[in-house]
């Protein structure tokens, strides 16, 4: 079956990278689950920005990207993008994005772009609690927030 598609289909749910970008293309988070060199990362960031920003609300939240697909959702000026295999479950990732955004919103009390800039090192912690090794690690907002609060108290 994989023939023509040229490559064997997926290994279960696996995220290749997560990007948060603003409309101007500034990266607010880049989390890579595959090895890329720095040039390649920069290129991917630009390509994702180019394919996502031209789409409007009437379009789907999915877009084919190289041999993969991007599931994305826009929140105010920020695009949250997840790159996954073509046969992965689109809606599951779309809601994983939303779940992540709700956690950020709670954690930063009405999150805005600047929170992500000034607290970039904390955003990585939030990501690692919810996604690890390209997989969904924890989906319960209560559990994630409880853990984040506990870590916060260690500061």
């Amino acid at each position: 079956m994989g023939q023509g598609k040229c490559c064997k289909a997926g290994e279960g749910l696996e995220i290749r990278f997560i990007l948060i970008q603003n409309r101007a293309g500034k990266t607010r988070l880049a989390k890579w689950y595959m090895q890329f060199d720095d040039d390649e990362k920069q290129k991917l960031i630009e390509e994702v920005h180019a394919v996502v920003t031209v789409r409007d609300a009437k379009h789907t939240n999915f877009v084919e990207f190289r041999n993969f697909k991007i599931i994305y959702r826009r929140y105010a000026g920020l695009y949250f993008c997840i790159c996954v295999d073509v046969n992965d479950n689109n809606l599951a990732y779309l809601e994983a994005i939303h779940n992540f955004v709700e956690v950020l919103n709670e954690y930063f009390h009405n999150v805005c772009e600047l929170d992500l800039v000034f607290n970039f090192y904390k955003v990585y912690t939030v990501v690692d609690e919810m996604f690890l090794a390209g997989e969904i690690r924890e989906t319960s907002q209560t559990k994630v927030l409880k853990q984040l609060l506990m870590l916060q108290s260690l500061e």
Binding site: A92, E95, Y107, A133, K143, E155
Partner: protein, 936 residues
């Protein structure tokens, strides 16, 4: 909960970030950063020992600078120091820095691993978590070597905290993906399966991912996971919406876990145990039922989460393909989505229905939605949705609706997006042929295709219409009449001139009785197009003219006049000139009988010989070694009007080999259909996939033989021969794979598949079309692979071939020799330049050296030939020692070009070589060195 204020805890960092944000220009930003870097450097070098807080702050600033896109070449040691801090925040910044700026410096790796080891042993769940996340994020081989044995123990130990278990499970998954050989299966595997029963749903969520990946590779060992997954799923779907508390998302119980469990079940066939099977069917039915219930919330999150589970359920039902009732219900559900107001759902329903259409149980149910799908084609605003509609129409097409679907696709083609036109043309051509009852319809359809989208009609499509017309005498008169009429249009596509020229040359006599299409009128009609056509088409028309001389003696002198004119006889194009000279001579000297013999009607093409499905299969696939010569011979035979039946292509158009050489002019491969829809062509026609065979014995040796050459036999056993011919230019390439059936029996379900690992997929893009699933005894099938090197790569794709021979199933895998050096462009340079560049590439990472024993006699000429075959230029008189060989070249990838220098120093006494590669990229040096070392 306390809100996190801006950069709290590290004031200096917040100030720095604010400063950067306030910079008015890029220059100002760089200036501010350089100032900060100097400050940090002096702090790190200063006599005063820094406290943990300062160290953390500076390391965090360095990280911020790196994330802005600037290089950081110090601070690694300070970051590693932070790892051994006892404060969480310091440790966290240390680990973050290490994870983001992985450095393969061996000294540091040892220190990092040491710190991780301490944290794993600390029994402090927070520290253990940080350490596990670091391993999962870096996932290097060194880490796998150090920890792959330890992590399974943490995972299954009774006293491990839940959150640590979650991290350990996914950490292990990462190591298994990067270094499967280092993760030993053992007692822990059965205990991991039982994590599916764990009370903590977070642990189950993480463990399910691990188990799914392990089960894909070791299905037997993880078989027990099926019944556990079913019972877990059953408990979730039957729970009340409040039962799962934390794990209920917008009234949907544990949607992500449900999806993961359903994917795990897709690693296996339907459960054999009737009780388990019954329970699973109940679950699937419950999920389908819930889809019909009124929503518990109007929020899109609710419906998305619910539908994520539903779509995964449908995937599992399609995967099992055994319950007609469920398949039809799934289809009806998707049918409702086709008209949903959410674009996402319409898109996903079209996509999912495509796979349902190929199941015998649901094909009919899918067909009932044809009107909706056609409507989608006309009204959807998002091109990707329209694309899915085309895919689905193609998938649901059968004899009963072919006329309607083809007509709709043709009318859509008039306005279709350029990006998908070629694919629609192919689909229409395939459907028209496959479901033609009446061949006049087929002829009309193809001519319409040429009229509407001539530029997108590939050779294979118009060759095929000619083959079919030649083979079916009931349609020949109609075809002649139709092309004659179509050619009346003042502006018609060149492809139509080709088809028209060919068909009138063969069958123009069938309409010559009508005074409106008398021989002279036919000739003038064709000749009126002549001057606007390209050389290959004009060559074809010249062949038509000589056929006319045979068919219609009355136009002989008119045609001779044309052939005799200066614009033909003295044409600058050798091919046209030769044809004109030879045809003119033939028409003059040959008797009517000889002329009739030479220009006899084309014999029928052997049936089943070709189909556009096997788009690139040629009538006589050129022999692997002598393809070029043979194609030339065929071509000249046709030019000379030899009686030998030549394929349509040979008489008139660039031969396959000419096409190969015209690679540079060909549009780049990725312009073709996108990968997912390309796959569809096969999904419909191939059997369900079987496991891929291990590499055939000798595959590695054969692979190595192709590093320095492009053509030859890749594999041969008693049944099958696989030959290769390839051409590379810059970062693009094209490989012709020839599959020869050495037996006298047909191969059935013949399915070659290209398999790339995930890493390779990102760096090397391969596109191919499926081949005809039947290979006749003694026949040869050709497949073309378009190759694009996106970035440098190390692994090679695997070619897996499965087919039935007699009653037996055959499964062969070979490594396909697409190697990095194929994208070499040789560079000539003088000695001075060479050594200057050599010195510029003197970083330790840029150089890779290998000293090895000669495996073959050390012959200077052979060595030279191999270096040239490798792709680099061989530079003479550059190395002061004439016994040494030096080479230079550029590796072209889509993203970048990498300059490469190489030096090979033979030592005859010791029968050894020393090979040195210097390139601007470590991985490239490494790979080229590996590849070339194998050659001597």
């Amino acid at each position: 909960m306390p809100a996190v204020s801006k950069g709290d805890g590290m004031r200096g960092l917040a100030v720095f970030i604010s400063d950067i944000r306030n910079c008015k220009s890029k220059e100002a930003e760089i200036k501010r950063i350089n100032k900060e870097l100097a400050n940090i450097r002096s702090k790190f070098k200063g006599d005063k020992a820094l406290d943990g807080y300062s160290k953390k702050k500076y390391v965090c600033k360095l990280l911020f600078i790196f994330l802005l896109g600037h290089d950081i070449d110090f601070g690694h040691m300070e970051a590693v120091n932070l790892l051994s801090s006892n404060r969480y925040t310091e440790k966290q910044i240390g680990y973050l820095f290490i994870s983001v700026l992985v450095n393969s410096n061996s000294e540091l790796i040892r220190l990092i691993n040491n710190a991780i080891k301490n944290d794993l042993a600390s029994r402090n769940p927070t520290f253990m978590g940080l350490a596990l996340h670091c391993i999962a994020n870096v996932g290097s081989r060194e880490m796998a070597e150090a920890f792959a044995g330890e992590i399974p123990k943490i995972l299954v130990a009774g006293d491990t905290m839940d959150s640590v278990k979650q991290s350990a499970a996914l950490c292990l998954l990462r190591l298994y993906r990067t270094s499967p050989d280092l993760v030993p299966m053992g007692d822990w595997t059965s205990r991991v399966v039982h994590l599916l029963n764990d009370q903590h749903l977070g642990v189950v969520t993480a463990a399910t991912s691990l188990i799914t990946t392990l089960a894909q590779k070791n299905p037997e060992e993880f078989k027990t996971s099926v019944s556990l997954a079913v019972s877990r799923l059953s408990r979730i779907v039957t729970s009340a919406s409040t039962d799962l508390q934390d794990y209920t998302y917008y009234f949907v119980p544990a949607p992500w876990l449900s999806v993961k469990l359903l994917r795990l079940l897709q690693c296996y066939p339907p459960p054999e145990d009737p009780a388990v099977r019954g329970r699973l069917t109940e679950c699937l039915e419950t999920i389908l039922n819930k889809a019909q219930e009124p929503p518990k919330s109007k929020k899109v999150q609710h419906s998305n989460a619910k539908n994520a589970v539903l779509f995964e359920t449908i995937s599992l039902i399609i995967h099992h393909d055994s319950e007609p009732n469920l398949l039809v219900r799934a289809c009806n559900q998707l049918g409702q989505f086709l008209q949903h107001r959410e674009t996402n759902l319409r898109y996903l329903a079209l996509e999912s229905m495509c796979t349902l259409a190929s199941s015998e149980f649901s094909h009919e149910a899918v067909k009932t939605h044809i009107e909706t799908v056609i409507n989608a084609l006309k009204t959807e605003r998002d091109v990707s949705v329209r694309q899915r509609a085309v895919d689905l129409l193609y998938a649901m097409c059968d004899r009963s609706n072919a006329q309607q679907i083809v007509a709709e696709m043709l009318s859509y083609l008039e306005t279709a997006d350029y990006s998908i036109r070629e694919e629609i043309v192919l689909k229409v051509a395939i459907l028209a042929e496959k479901y033609a009852v009446d061949y006049t319809w087929y002829v009309d359809t193809i001519l319409n295709l040429i009229r509407i989208a001539g530029d997108y009609v590939s050779e294979e499509v118009w060759y095929r219409v000619i083959q079919i017309v030649i083979n079916r005498d009931d349609v020949q008169g109609y075809a002649a009449k139709t092309v004659f009429e179509a050619l009346q249009a003042p502006a018609c596509h060149e492809n139509l001139v080709k088809v028209g020229g060919y068909i009138l040359g063969e069958f123009g006599n069938l309409i010559a009785g009508d005074p409106r299409s008398s021989p002279l009128i036919q000739f003038h009609l064709l000749h009126s197009k002549f001057h606007l056509c390209s050389v290959p088409t004009r060559a074809l028309l010249l062949s038509t003219y000589i056929k006319f001389v045979n068919l219609f003696p009355e136009v002989k002198t008119t045609i001779q006049d044309v052939l005799r004119s200066d614009s033909q006889l003295k044409n600058a194009d050798v091919e046209l000139q030769q044809r004109a000279v030879e045809y003119l001579r033939l028409s003059t000297v040959a008797s009517t009988d000889i002329l009739a013999t030479v220009l006899e009607e084309m014999p029928p093409f052997p049936e089943r010989q070709s189909s556009i499905l096997a788009k690139l299969k040629k009538k006589k696939g050129p022999d692997t070694a002598t393809g070029l010569e043979e194609a030339k011979r065929e071509r000249s035979a046709a030019v000379n009007g030899g009686p030998e039946p030549a394929p349509a292509s040979a008489a008139s158009t660039p031969s396959p080999s000419a096409d190969l050489l015209g690679l540079g002019a060909a549009p780049p491969a990725p312009a073709g259909p996108p990968p997912s829809s390309g796959g569809l062509l096969v999904d419909v026609f191939s059997d369900s996939p079987s496991a891929v065979a291990p590499l055939a014995p000798g595959s590695e040796d054969n692979f190595a033989r192709f590093v320095c050459k492009n053509n030859g036999v890749l594999f041969e056993n008693q049944l099958l021969q696989i030959g290769l011919k390839s051409e590379f230019r810059q970062n693009l390439g094209r490989m012709f794979i020839f599959y020869g059936n050495k037996t006298s029996t047909q191969f059935l379900n013949f399915t070659p598949t290209l398999i790339c690992s995930d890493d390779l997929q990102m760096n090397l893009s391969l596109q191919t079309k499926p081949v005809d699933p039947t290979v006749d005894g003694g026949a040869q099938v050709q497949q073309v692979v378009n190759i694009e090197c996106v970035s440098d790569f190390t692994e090679a794709p695997v070619l897996n071939i499965q087919f039935r021979y007699g009653g037996t199933f055959q499964n062969v895998s070979v490594k396909l020799p697409i190697t990095l050096n194929k994208f070499f462009q040789p560079t000539e340079m003088a000695s001075q330049d060479f050594f200057q560049r050599w010195k510029q590439l003197s970083n330790p990472q840029q150089e890779v050296q290998n000293i090895f024993k000669a495996k073959h006699p050390m012959d200077t000429e052979i060595t030279k030939a191999k270096i040239i075959g490798f792709g680099s230029a061989l530079l003479e008189e550059v190395d002061p020692n004439p016994a040494n060989f030096v080479g230079a070249g550029i590796i072209h990838t889509k993203t970048t070009q990498i300059g490469c220098l190489l030096r090979l120093e033979p030592n005859l006494q010791a029968q050894m070589y020393r090979l040195t590669l210097r390139t601007s990229k470590e991985t490239v040096s490494q790979r080229l060195c590996e590849l070339l070392s194998e050659q001597f």
